[in-house]
Amino acid sequence: MVARAVLQAPDITRALTRIAHEIVEQSKGADDLVLLGIPTRGVVLARRLHAILAEIAPGAAEVGALDVTMYRDDLSRQPTRAPAPTQIPAAGIDGRTVVLVDDVLYSGRTIRAALDALSDLGRPTAVRLAVLVDRGHRELPIRADFVGKNLPSSTSERINVHLTEIDERDEVTIE
């Protein structure tokens, strides 16, 4: 099937800018935020969000990465994957608001794993979820607080997120 572009570079930037504003709005200023990207593309998105936040609310948020490989419930059903590094800001996550950032929200199992991983690292005041694309088909009672684009899809379709830092272009396609 031919891949059809659903988000272009300007759409992605606009969505992230909106999400950044929503995060600030919802956390009433943003003085103790930790943005944690889920590898691989979630980390890139978290860094971009952090850069935008630095303009609207300087010094308010820190950024990091949270690898969830070791917490997945589907490890035994897939070929072994190598974990990616987890980077938590030096101040930790205790008593702060964590915003998890991922590219696509689908079954919700990655986020379930991320919540488990977080509880081993500390006790945040609140955990929020920001995703670029929500494609539906949840298998767990999990929802996103900040969504770039809702993209109703069929399970047979594939959603590909391309980001300049990794894939040399900004684009979301469906095929």
Binding site: L75, S76, R77, A82, P85, T86, L121, G122
Partner: protein
């Protein structure tokens, strides 16, 4: 990867993935909760037919940090002392549902036999077989070298151009063999220094340069100087006149330590015979990586168990 029997089977990319995963595992040791749920419900059996403290404890800690259940089986005090064969022991463990068997045995090839026998369906990790191989030791040595050289930027790096000199009882050393294959695969160049009596026959075919004079090797300022243990339990013939003469010719004493560049790391797989192959000053100096090696051993074994076990289970 199904089993880990020998570092000679490891391609460079596989080895780097194992080392990179160990970097992530090392971070777990600094956390509040030093445990990952990854291998919950899996059983790891430590099957030790030979004495060991650090390797067995290291595997036990590694398995427990990954939430696996650990059964320690020492040949002393088991039915092996009543004459049970490796086959019967393995089948007993299989019947109890072991997912991985970590085996140390005094016979070279014991791990290979267990893995290829069909007696047991578990992943087999060689934790030292006779004078053949000790792959996790080599992996932790490579990991230690890489961390000392590149620090936090170690991920994805190999050991291209690093010079490693391994000194001592190469003949009986599984550590030397495993290190040779692994370090060579990672791009390092390896040199053995030993008395002619302690070099194996046929070593000319190995990708290694051999020397008999430690002072010459030290003057060449290697990046890594690895001292091997004199294995008194395997010294059944007169390989050298006496211990004092060995220490004088092939031991890392204080004078030789002083001649090494400050950047050279001094490694030892342990347990050390202080005053024989390594002086106390050398073992406790800033150049020594001995305690780092022990700490890194846990991370490496977590990485190995993860890669062997995570993808097996219900699906296999």
């Amino acid at each position: 990867m199904r089993h880990l029997l020998s570092t000679a089977d490891l391609a460079r990319e596989e080895a780097i993935v194992l080392l990179d995963t160990a970097e992530d595992m090392a971070d777990v040791a600094d956390r509040e909760v030093k445990k990952l749920p990854t291998l919950r419900g899996r059983t790891v059996v430590n099957l030790f037919f030979e004495d060991s403290t650090r390797t067995r404890v290291s595997f036990e800690v590694a398995a427990k940090r990954l939430s696996a259940d650990v059964i320690n089986f020492a040949a002393k005090g088991s039915s092996v002392s009543k004459g049970e064969s490796l086959k019967d022991t393995a089948q007993t463990l299989a019947a109890m549902g072991a997912d991985a068997v970590v085996i140390r045995h005094s016979a070279s090839g014991a791990a290979q036999v267990l893995a290829g026998s069909g007696w047991i369906d578990a992943a087999v990790v060689n934790a030292g077989d006779g004078t053949h191989e000790h792959p996790t030791q080599a992996l932790l040595d490579a990991f230690t070298i890489r961390r000392r050289l590149h620090g936090a930027g170690s991920r994805g790096r190999d050991l291209d151009g690093v010079t490693v000199t391994i000194v001592g009882d190469v003949l009986h050393s599984r550590v030397a063999r495993s290190n040779l294959w692994l370090l060579t695969a990672l791009g390092a160049s390896v040199r053995f220094v030993a008395p002619a009596t302690l070099l194996p026959i046929g070593i000319g075919a190995w990708p290694v340069e051999t020397l008999h004079d430690l002072d010459v090797a030290i003057d060449d300022a290697p990046d890594v100087l690895m001292m091997l243990r004199i294995q008194t339990e395997r010294m059944h013939a007169a390989f050298f006149p006496n211990e004092r003469e060995y220490a004088r010719e092939w031991g890392l004493d204080d004078a030789r330590l002083g001649r090494l560049p400050a950047t050279t790391m001094v490694m030892h797989p342990g347990p050390m015979n202080r005053g024989l192959e390594i002086s106390s000053a050398a073992a406790d100096s800033a150049a020594s990586t001995v305690l780092e090696q022990v700490a890194n051993g846990v991370s490496i074994r977590m990485s190995v168990l993860y890669h062997l076990l995570a993808a097996t289970g219900e699906a296999s």
